[in-house]
């Protein structure tokens, strides 16, 4: 227990202590910048948290570099954006019925009618209160669950079990994301396949490169993800605008009366609802692939069923806003549970957190992070400890700091967001495109990075237009190298046993579950 507190203490102080030992406010400042950017971006319809994270990552890396000391400022900013965006999205949803982020869509159902009734301020404050509280709740669960799961997992999982776990999470993801699981899984396999281009592990030279030596180290990761996740969505929006010749301007409708403030008594009465929503959001968020929208929907339905006045839902009850906002914000913290304990990302925001960690410094996610190595100090030498664990607690600290900014500045800023003049989407999208392509070039190997982003944006465009969910493709792309290493390692370490994956009961169980999910998918496809 003592050791735990020692590590927590080190983790907290590592955020405030610079490489030279003095007071260091850069990470705190970057978290603040992240939260502010996140809230503002979240409030701009057509932009979302992962969007801003995707563009920020290469720019931040260019600024802070790849060294270990760059990790906190970059990660702090990204975490801030992630958290700020969940708060900001509610404002335009309530005032103008245009959700700023996808997960705020359900907030329009009750938030907008509230604003129309002259209770805009109350609705915004309700959204802020339940959103930030839900976020805090899921962070708390993350802080406890991630180390616990990591410790349990590291003890029982060898190479075959780790391989089976990745296969299972991919199958699960394909099964739950989107309407078309078969195509989702095919997309996942395709994502895995393209990640094999270039590097090989055998020392026999690059593979699948069409003879281009530039591809020898594989496709640049950040550019590829930027292309398939962000630029492709920009392209889809640009095409929609191109085809929309009606010429209607998307200026905000008249801002309604704001009305009275939220009282402390009202806040207290919301707590049970927030707790329910946050619990649902946390459970959903911890599972890979199920997004904020699902969490919000489930929470909204369960709140309506539990309510004494279910008929008021959809007509402007604060209970509805509480249900959706607490649930969708709770997803973001819980999403990091599989990331931090297993290294498996569950949604787009987590993808960029993982990318940042992989790009910068020595720290890497996975069960090894949570080894509680005894801290020993050796005279005239160095302190002996698990630096990764300190970083993990440092990351938790930055999340708490982000929550603090969200509580304080978030509340103030949300009140002001309604005044902000909306930047027209028709200009911001082309700008995003140029900035993304430039970032891909500067960070990821020149034209190779730029062209990778371009080609992957075409793949993403195709997937989006054919209604195939993109997440399995991205996760497959990110996890395939790990999976190949694990599968090859398990095969070799077993001494070349062709049934190496089926020898362990745990691995067998996980593969059986994957097979079950597959069969379910197929039957669903035939019934559809």
């Amino acid at each position: 227990m003592d050791l735990l507190f020692q590590y927590i203490g080190l983790g907290v102080s590592s955020v405030f202590q610079g490489p030279e030992g003095g007071l260091w406010l850069l990470p705190v400042g970057m978290v603040l910048i992240g939260v502010l950017v996140g809230i503002i971006i979240g409030a701009v319809p057509g932009m979302s948290g992962p969007f801003a994270m995707a563009i920020a990552l290469p720019i931040l890396v260019s600024i802070f570099g790849y060294g270990n000391e760059a990790l906190y400022p970059v990660l702090g900013c990204l975490l801030g954006i992630m958290k700020g965006a969940t708060v900001g999205g509610a404002v335009p949803a309530i005032l103008f019925r245009t959700p700023g982020t996808p997960d705020a869509f359900l907030t329009t159902l009750d938030g907008y009618p509230m604003a129309q009734k002259g209770l805009g301020r109350k609705a915004i404050q309700t959204a802020h209160f339940s959103s930030v509280l839900g976020d805090n709740f899921s962070d708390l669960v993350l802080f406890i669950a991630a180390p616990a799961i990591a410790l349990a997992v590291e003890r029982i999982l060898g190479l075959p079990e780790k391989s089976a776990l990745i296969i299972l999470s991919l199958c699960f993801m394909a099964a739950v994301v989107g309407q078309a699981p078969l195509k989702g899984l095919l997309g996942g396999l395709l994502g895995m396949f393209v990640s094999l281009i270039g590097s090989s592990m055998s020392g026999n030279g690059p593979r699948l490169t069409f003879g281009m030596p530039e591809l020898g180290n594989g496709l640049p990761l950040t550019s590829a993800v930027l292309g398939v996740l962000v630029i492709s969505e920009v392209l889809v929006s640009i095409e929609d605008m191109r085809n929309d010749r009606s010429g209607r301007t998307e200026g905000p409708t008249k801002r309604p009366e704001m009305g009275p403030r939220l009282t402390w008594g009202e806040r207290a009465r919301m707590l049970p609802g927030i707790l329910r929503g946050a619990s649902i959001g946390t459970v959903i968020g911890a599972l890979p692939g199920i997004g904020t929208t699902t969490a919000a929907t489930l929470s909204y339905d369960s709140a309506r069923r539990a309510s004494r006045h279910p008929e008021q839902f959809g007509k402007g009850t604060p209970e509805g806003v509480v249900a959706t906002e607490s649930a969708n914000s709770a997803v973001s913290g819980a999403n990091l549970i599989p990331v931090m304990s297993l290294g498996i990302p569950g949604n787009s925001a987590a993808v960029f957190i993982i990318l940042a960690v992989e790009t910068i410094g020595d720290f890497a996610f996975g069960p090894q992070v949570f080894q509680f190595t005894p801290i020993r100090e050796i005279e005239g030498f160095d302190t002996i400890m698990n630096a990764g664990l300190v970083t993990a607690f440092g990351m938790f600290t930055m999340m708490v700091i982000a929550n603090f900014w969200n509580w304080t500045l978030g509340g103030m800023l949300m009140g002001l967001l309604g005044h902000l003049v909306k930047i027209p989407k028709s200009i911001i999208l082309p700008v995003i495109l140029t900035v993304s392509l430039t970032a891909a070039y500067t960070q990821d190997g020149g034209y190779l990075g730029l062209l990778t982003a371009a080609v992957f944006s075409l793949i993403g465009y195709g997937l989006r237009r054919l209604d195939v969910s993109i997440l399995p493709f991205v996760i497959g792309f990110l996890l395939a190298p790990t999976l190949e290493g694990l599968v090859r390692g398990a095969f070799t370490a077993s001494g070349g046993d062709p049934f190496f994956l089926l020898k362990s009961p745990i691995a067998l169980g996980m593969l059986a579950l994957s097979a079950f999910l597959l069969i379910r998918m197929v039957r669903q496809a035939r019934r559809a």
């Binding site: 055998s202 690059p206 020898g216």
Partner: protein
């Protein structure tokens, strides 16, 4: 910046008859064969900065990572041999890797200078209690399955040579890079592994033990541990960091660049030297020009023989 450039240009013009000094026509591109943020990258970047400060040449570092420098080298060999595109990798890239490659040969490059050397060692988890190769052999003889983590064909061959010399069987686990081998060790996927220098923090933290040095001398972290040669295994897996250019680089350009690097590495105040002393102790290793080319070609032949012997 521009001013200094002009001044150096002017100065070199004045000095031209005496020294016939070479100056680049525009910026020099230094291609680092490893990813950003690693030890090679830091070394290359500080060196670039110091060359610029010393000579006023603009040196632009660029990362071209992959396969231990071979991805970078495959691109480098097609560039113009005018001293304005240089590569930064390790000697293994040139004295071993070309063996398995259709498009690389040791003759494709001009070897300019080495900068630092590795700290290659056999590692085991501290909690295994193994302190030496004998302990490893005893454990293997007692029936424990030995999985040896490596990151490439050469070190895998090295592991096999050690295993044969000890009379034990090992399963080889190929990981991604030196860091991957360490991760495999720590997460108990392997129980022995190679480390080229990245092991420093883990050895200092008492997580890993050094069993033996695979250099010609004991490694700095564990000076009391024997070399493989002491233990009766004729194997040297040590490597040096090296600056190269495409084949056909004129000798005066080669020597000019090598001279600048030597000047920096010999200066105790230099940032690069201090980094090397810390990261690749004890001091920079500076082999240059014809001697370096000789070293690469002989080691290449020795490695070819080693692999042939193994295959038999």
């Amino acid at each position: 910046m521009k001013k200094t450039l002009m001044m150096t240009a002017a100065l070199s013009l004045l000095a031209a008859p005496a020294f016939a000094e070479w100056n680049p026509d525009g910026p020099i591109r230094l291609w680092i064969g490893y990813g950003a943020g690693g030890g090679t990258d830091v070394q290359g970047r500080t060196l670039a900065k110091e060359i610029e400060a010393l000579r006023g040449w603009k040196v632009l570092p660029e990362n071209k990572a992959g396969e231990d420098g071979t991805v970078m080298s495959a691109q480098l060999k097609g560039e113009a041999a005018d001293g304005q595109t240089l590569g930064f990798a390790i000697t293994t890239t040139y004295d071993f890797a070309p063996m398995n490659s259709d498009n690389l040969s040791p003759e494709d490059f001009t070897y300019i200078t080495t900068t630092a050397g590795s700290q290659m060692a056999v590692l085991a988890r501290a909690e295994s209690g193994w302190q030496s190769l004998e302990d490893l052999k005893a454990a293997a003889d007692a029936g424990e399955q030995i999985v040896w983590a490596n990151w490439g064909t050469q070190v895998e061959a090295g592991a096999e040579i050690v295993a044969r010399a000890l009379g034990i069987t090992v399963n080889h686990l190929r990981t991604k890079g030196g860091k991957g081998a360490l991760n495999a060790l720590v997460s108990m996927d392997a129980n022995v592994g190679w480390g080229g220098g990245v092991q420093k923090p883990l050895v200092e933290a008492g997580v890993l033990n050094i069993l033996a040095s695979a250099e010609t001398t004991p490694v700095a972290l564990a000076p009391e541990k024997p070399t493989l040669k002491d233990a009766g295994v004729d194997l040297n897996l040590g490597y040096q960091y090296i600056i190269t250019a495409p084949a056909g680089l004129p000798d005066e350009i080669r020597d000019e660049i090598a001279g600048v690097v030597a000047e920096i590495l010999n200066n105790p105040e230099s940032e690069t030297r201090q980094f090397i002393e810390k990261q690749y102790p004890p001091a920079p290793i500076v082999t240059q020009g014809a001697a370096l080319r000789e070293q690469i070609l002989t080691t290449y032949d020795a490695n070819v023989d080693m692999m042939k012997a193994l295959a038999e």
